[in-house]
């Protein structure tokens, strides 16, 4: 297995890093976190750079990139904070659903709009009683002539209320069958009448925001349906592996920043007449942190490479997601400890990494669900 980047991949990484360093300055990130502002300016730069087109075929305006290109992007965006990858990934992953399950007409219409920044996309699946148990959802869409009428409530929907957003909504279209057979995927522009979005207050990840969405007789034309009726579960599953591995690359990027910042501090900060990094206990903490981040990166790359070869990678991806998120949370906690009292102050970045990291063992499949999946691939039937 070759973990080295080729020339093109190196160029992609370097260009992206330079661009992000220029625009996503520490002050910019702090302000957007503090005020809960979506990073529109950064997103616009991605559009200009063509980044949104990476995984899409040339005929729709894309660059035919593969999963490795995606994890390179994920790690670079994640370096500035996990939410940057979140903003990018939401549009791209949902547009990939259009690519994989939409009609030719939908692909021609929506994919170029995502690539050129005219629209953004977000996902909405979780409900108050349907979290890890996603199949328990109750939001329904009922056919009404050529349209669908949607009613229900969704929860924890990230970046749903941003400009020109199209919500990719999973809801029940047949309540008489098990969930795998009765869910359908729709595109619902966020400003459609009857859609009410309420931002929730969260511990972290405040740039993108997490929302509750109410659907009250929302009328959507059948043209907004993606894939076949009652086959939405397949849409959801088909993208899941790519989503998880790219998400994990964002964890790796952000965790690396945590180590970099803690290391820098340990070299600068003097106590007892010497840099605290010269104390064995602090040095060992940093050694552990870098080792775990590197291990996360290796697990993530193994999953990506396995996928790039076209193999099933359920175990590899689940392991990478589990270890990557737990590592991110752990190193952020250690980073807090290394920065001491300063880390607890809002004007330092470490508290933000810690707050952001805390979501990662929960979202995109909790650590508990990843463990179930891994154990199942080992021949266990976990109940």
């Amino acid at each position: 297995m070759n973990f080295d980047l080729n020339e093109e991949q190196t160029l992609l990484r370097d260009n992206l890093r330079r661009m992000m360093d220029d625009i996503a300055t520490p002050e910019y990130i702090r302000q957007h976190d503090e005020e809960g502002l979506y990073p529109y300016e950064v997103y616009d730069q991605w559009v200009e750079m063509g980044l949104l087109g990476m995984p899409f075929p040339e005929k729709y305006g894309g660059y035919d990139g593969d999963v490795l290109d995606m994890v390179i992007i994920g790690e670079e965006l994640g370096r500035k904070g996990y939410d940057f990858l979140g903003a990018y990934a939401l549009s791209v992953f949902n547009a990939l659903n259009v690519l994989n399950h939409g009609s030719e007409e939908q692909k021609k219409k929506y994919i170029p709009q995502v690539i050129n920044g005219d629209i953004r996309m977000s996902i909405s699946m979780t409900e108050p009683d349907a979290g890890s148990d996603a199949g328990n959802m109750r939001t329904t869409a009922v056919q009404d002539g050529d349209d669908w009428l949607i009613n229900g409530q969704k929860l924890f929907s990230t970046a749903a209320d941003v400009k020109n957003n199209v919500i990719n909504l999973y809801c029940k279209t047949d309540t008489t069958v098990p969930y795998q057979q009765g869910v359908t995927l729709f595109m619902v522009p966020f400003d459609t009448p009857g859609v009410e979005i309420r931002r929730l207050k969260t511990l972290g990840r405040r740039m993108l925001g997490t929302n509750e969405i109410f659907f009250d007789n929302v009328r959507i034309s059948d043209e907004m349906r993606i894939g076949e009726v009652n086959k939405g579960w397949n849409c959801m599953l088909s993208g899941l592996m790519l989503e998880r591995v790219v998400t994990t690359s964002g964890y790796v990027g952000n965790a690396q920043t945590v180590v970099d910042q803690a290391l820098e501090y340990a070299k600068q900060r003097k106590q007892f007449g010497k840099p605290i990094g010269n104390f064995q206990s602090i040095a060992h903490m940093l050694a552990d942190m870098q080792t775990k981040v590197d291990a996360s990166r290796m697990l993530m790359l193994r999953a990506a490479i396995t996928m790039a070869k076209g193999h099933s990678a359920l175990r590899e991806v689940s392991q990478a997601k589990l270890f990557g998120s737990e590592t991110f949370a752990e190193v952020a906690n250690m980073g807090m400890q290394i920065l001491g009292g300063y880390s607890y102050m809002m004007e330092f970045d470490m508290q933000r990494h810690y707050r952001d990291a805390r979501s990662t063992t929960i979202t995109a499949g909790t650590s508990q669900m990843q463990r179930n999946l891994i154990a199942n691939t080992m021949g266990l039937k976990v109940k």
């Binding site: 511990l203 929960i362 463990r371």
Partner: protein
């Protein structure tokens, strides 16, 4: 025989505090965090009911209760509202307790009755930008000038530095180095040359902010000297540090309290939250989390009660204090985080108290002697000698 049970009187005391905390403080806990406003009303109520002076001897207007009462009190406050507990800690175990131990009779009669009534608040001011864990590097300087003293320097992370009427400031007498020459003085609000900087916003305990204190040729009357440092001795510093043993015990007690709150919330949630057609409490993965949490909580509580009861001359054993605070600090992080995890994404949202508890609990390990410094203390005790941290 050893008995690890609290006696009846203490259990009744706990019930009183719990009822009060649930009725008066729990409903406002989220709001205090959100608005970051000092819990003035809660403090007034605690003063009115006599709790703020509970550990202060009766001759100064207090009730002279035991350190264990203080722990139980802080536990119950922290269980529902950490910000209120933090205020309690300032009145019970921090500088007020140190003043009881180290102050002159005149100082105690002058200041402590006001503490009991909630009119005086003494803040503790030790850390400086360049002297955190390496506290003996502090450079705030005090020198004699006629009958008075002149104080110069800057302190940071002074909890409730804005609200405090008095600050107990660690300072260096003369041109000494290291622990030698360190003593403490009382600086009063309004003294010329004393200014309080803007609040330092923090991740948790947000209603009780920290501040920088600046001393620019502040004239301190000799009546305000608590411990006078002498350049050839570290005696003053030692006496000061040992008087802060109760603060460490109180800090550990708050860890137990906040963890108890998080544990109870998670336990109840796991019984009501249904996924895959059954309460998540039915899954072994969740059951074991709860079992681990309960075990760690139990261990921490025993360590804290031991530290609060194993007294010499009224003060806890430094070794007990260090181990109780170290274990409880790290336990509180683990338990609040596990409780959040059991709540899934609900735990990440502010409609539930978990994310607040995680933020609040994170601060325990960053002040009042970090776990790293406590490990140094404990190791020194284990080896029977201190290790020079400055050795290159």
């Amino acid at each position: 025989m050893l008995s690890f049970k609290l006696d009846n009187e203490l259990e009744l005391f706990r019930n009183d505090v719990r009822n009060l905390a649930e009725k008066e403080f729990a409903p406002k806990a989220a709001q205090l965090d959100e608005t970051e406003e000092y819990p003035e009303e809660n403090k007034n109520l605690l003063a009115e009911l006599g709790y703020l002076g509970m550990l202060i001897p009766e001759e100064y207007g207090g009730s002279g209760l035991s350190l264990v009462h203080g722990v139980v009190f802080l536990e119950e406050l922290a269980r529902v509202c950490f910000n209120t507990a933090l205020v309690g800690q300032l009145y019970l175990n921090g500088p007020a307790k140190a003043l009881v131990e180290l102050g002159t009779e005149e100082q105690k009669h002058r200041i402590l009755p006001g503490v009991v009534k909630g009119e005086h608040l003494i803040a503790i001011s030790i850390s400086e930008p360049g002297a955190g864990s390496a506290v003996t590097d502090l450079s705030t300087n005090i020198r004699k000038d006629g009958d008075d003293y002149i104080l110069n320097g800057t302190k940071c992370f002074t909890t409730a530095g804005i609200e405090a009427t008095h600050s107990m400031v660690f300072a260096r007498f003369g041109n000494s180095k290291g622990a030698k020459g360190i003593g403490a003085v009382l600086v009063e609000k309004g003294m010329k040359g004393f200014t309080v900087g803007k609040p330092e916003l923090k991740m948790g305990g947000r209603a009780v902010k920290e501040a920088e204190l600046h001393f620019d040729n502040v004239r301190i009357p000799k009546e305000n000297i608590i411990v006078e440092g002498t350049p050839d001795s570290n005696d003053g510093f030692k006496r000061l540090m040992s008087s802060f043993g109760p603060e460490r015990v109180g800090n550990a007690g708050m860890c137990v309290g906040i963890s108890q709150g998080a544990y109870e919330t998670a336990l109840a949630y796991s019984e009501t939250r249904q996924q895959f057609g059954r309460p998540i409490a039915e899954f072994q993965g969740i059951q074991w989390k709860i079992a681990d949490m309960a075990t760690q909580l139990h261990a921490a509580r025993l360590m804290v009660y031991r530290a609060a009861t194993n007294l010499k001359n009224g003060f806890p054993d430094p070794h007990d204090c260090a181990m109780a605070k170290l274990f409880s600090n790290e336990m509180a992080q683990k338990i609040t985080n596990e409780a959040l995890q059991i709540h899934g994404h609900y735990g990440y949202c502010r409609d539930y108290p978990l994310e607040r508890m995680v933020r609040d609990a994170r601060g325990f390990s960053l002040g009042g002697g970090t776990p790293e410094i406590l490990r140094n203390t404990i190791a020194a005790q284990c080896y029977g000698r201190t290790f020079n941290q400055r050795r290159s």
